[in-house]
């Protein structure tokens, strides 16, 4: 299929953190207003919109009815087709993909994607119950948690590839240092390796700081086809590749790699006509510290088994081959489920515009965004990747 060039024209985010005094509708609306203003487009020019949120965290029903339509009504975006996405932790990326696809295929010229979540209304045990009982293997009843998944991964990495607890801690040190330069991050303080290693154990070998926090927030993006975009805004960023795939859930693969991530990365590089050697920056799904090391390998940033060395040699840090998670990542921002994917895209847009302030990667021209969502049996349910260029 011939797809049109699509560009990101505007981005908007709330601060990630506690917004308990507000409605989820208001949080979503704040990000959408910011993105529309950033794009310099009239709100009535938006022809299509998709909003993502994973869950209604404080109620047994689990879902809000028609939340995207209700958010957009608050800011006068009415009378257009509006969709909702849910794909676990990749919810925001799937909303972005939905709008990208509708523009790339020529159905619409101007669209708005947003993701929002309000998680501080629920306690942790009700969140665990949200995740479990539809899975035939009964993972939730057997005690699997998100941190448990990565505890399992980390012990396999340690045995198989010689990854150390110290390396896991250094992922956090790097990302929290970047996060301290991002005013939107929820956890603004840098941490030391000792602080990370000595923090409370969550799921061995993962300590508290190796696990992302949760919270409230929203992120939004305005997309247009390249021809239409010439009339609006500045600092356009091209979507050179957009890929979404789902897991294959193998029984026989080493639990240090996910097939969906490898496949999605291959497809994205092919679609963009670029390779990992062309990347300057990346925002990748560091929900737990071992994930970032795994992703270095699965996304082709380094050879298999070399993720720990890639970190230690500073190749993912400022001045390195591919500067990873300059936003501070999920480890600094918190993982605001529905908002995360579009927030990652927002960071790449800021970097590629040269507007990332104290964490700017000089001369950044190509960035990769990676977002994992949902988990069953042995793998994530969704993997979304975007490659953005200027």
């Amino acid at each position: 299929m011939n797809l049109r060039d699509v560009v990101v024209v505007g981005i908007g985010e709330t601060k990630f953190g506690k917004h308990t005094g507000r409605s989820i509708t208001d949080i979503g609306a704040e990000a959408c207003v910011k993105a529309i203003k950033d794009a310099g487009v009239g709100h009535r020019q938006v022809q299509v919109a998709t909003g993502g949120y994973a869950c209604q965290w404080n109620a047994p029903l689990g879902q809000y009815y028609a939340l995207p339509q209700i958010v957009l009504r608050e800011i006068g975006i009415t009378d257009i087709p509006i969709m909702r996405t849910e794909s676990g932790c990749a919810t925001g990326s799937v909303a972005f993909r939905d709008v990208w696809y509708r523009i790339a295929t020529g159905e619409y010229d101007v669209g708005l994607a947003f993701g929002v979540e309000q998680m501080n209304v629920a306690d942790s045990s009700s969140i665990l119950h949200q995740i479990s009982d539809h899975i035939p293997e009964r993972d939730g009843d057997l005690g699997l948690t998100a941190a448990g998944i990565y505890g399992l991964m980390a012990h396999r990495m340690m045995a198989q590839n010689g990854v150390t607890r110290e390396q896991l801690a250094r992922v956090v040190v790097k990302n929290r240092r970047f996060g301290s330069r991002n005013p939107l991050a929820q956890f603004p303080d840098p941490v030391t390796e000792d602080e990370v290693l000595n923090a409370r154990m969550i799921s061995d070998p993962l300590t508290l700081y190796m696990c992302c926090g949760r919270g409230d927030g929203a992120a939004a993006a305005v997309l247009m086809d390249a021809a239409t975009a010439r009339r609006y805004g500045t600092g356009h960023v091209r979507v050179a590749a957009n890929v979404l795939t789902s897991g294959s859930y193998p029984d026989d693969r080493d639990f240090t790699t996910f097939d969906a991530d490898v496949r999605a990365a291959d497809q994205a590089y092919e679609m963009a006509g670029l390779g990992p050697e062309d990347l300057d920056i990346a925002e990748i799904h560091d929900s737990f510290a071992p994930a970032e090391i795994k992703h270095y390998e699965d996304l082709g940033f380094c050879e298999r088994g070399e993720g720990g060395a890639f970190l230690d040699e500073g190749r993912s840090d400022m001045g390195g081959d591919i500067v990873v998670n300059t936003s501070g990542g999920l480890l600094s921002k918190g993982h605001i489920i529905g908002a995360t994917g579009i927030s990652q895209i927002g960071e790449l847009v800021k970097q590629l515009r040269g507007a990332a302030g104290g964490r700017q990667v000089e001369g950044a021209r190509v960035g990769l965004q990676h977002n994992s969502g949902g988990y069953v049996h042995t793998e994530f349910c969704s993997c979304a990747i975007n490659i953005l260029t200027v």
Binding site: P136, D141, G151, L152, D251
Partner: protein, 137 residues
């Protein structure tokens, strides 16, 4: 012995075995039993009992976990010879830091997982290092 999830088991009530399915057309083994073969969509499926021994692929000790389980608890992936990777609670392996090793042989036991509304124990499979004596309830 009241089972936590009877759909996973076959055999008599005192000595249940994990059961999946094997597809007559393509030979794929799946667990738990499914509506069709996820490999070839075939519908000719035979019950396939899983071995009670396997290999520990990896493990973790969860300190902040599911509210119905006393923390900390041990979880692992155990690969059984039929080609199925089982998520399993691990038991009888104190001190786990010294006992558990990636790649070690494991064996299945039946243990209580949680209680039903009337307070009766619900049993499920757990794995322990092969030959280990019972030390946990």
């Amino acid at each position: 012995m009241k089972l936590h999830d009877p759909a996973m088991f076959t055999g008599n009530a005192e000595d249940p075995a994990l059961v999946g399915q094997k597809c007559r057309a393509c030979g794929k083994v799946a667990f738990p039993r499914k509506r069709v073969c996820p490999g070839c969509f075939g519908e000719s499926l035979d019950d396939h009992v899983l071995s009670t021994t396997g290999v520990l692929h990896t493990f973790t000790c969860t300190h902040v976990g599911a509210p119905h389980l006393p923390s900390p608890y041990l979880l692992g992936f155990v690969d059984v010879p039929e080609g199925v990777r089982l998520l399993s609670l691990l038991t009888d392996c104190d001190p786990w830091e010294e006992v558990l090793r990636v790649g070690m042989p494991m064996e299945m036991v039946m243990r209580p997982l949680m209680r039903d509304a009337s307070g009766e124990d619900l049993y499920t499979y757990k794995f322990r290092p092969a030959g280990q004596k019972r030390t946990n309830p």
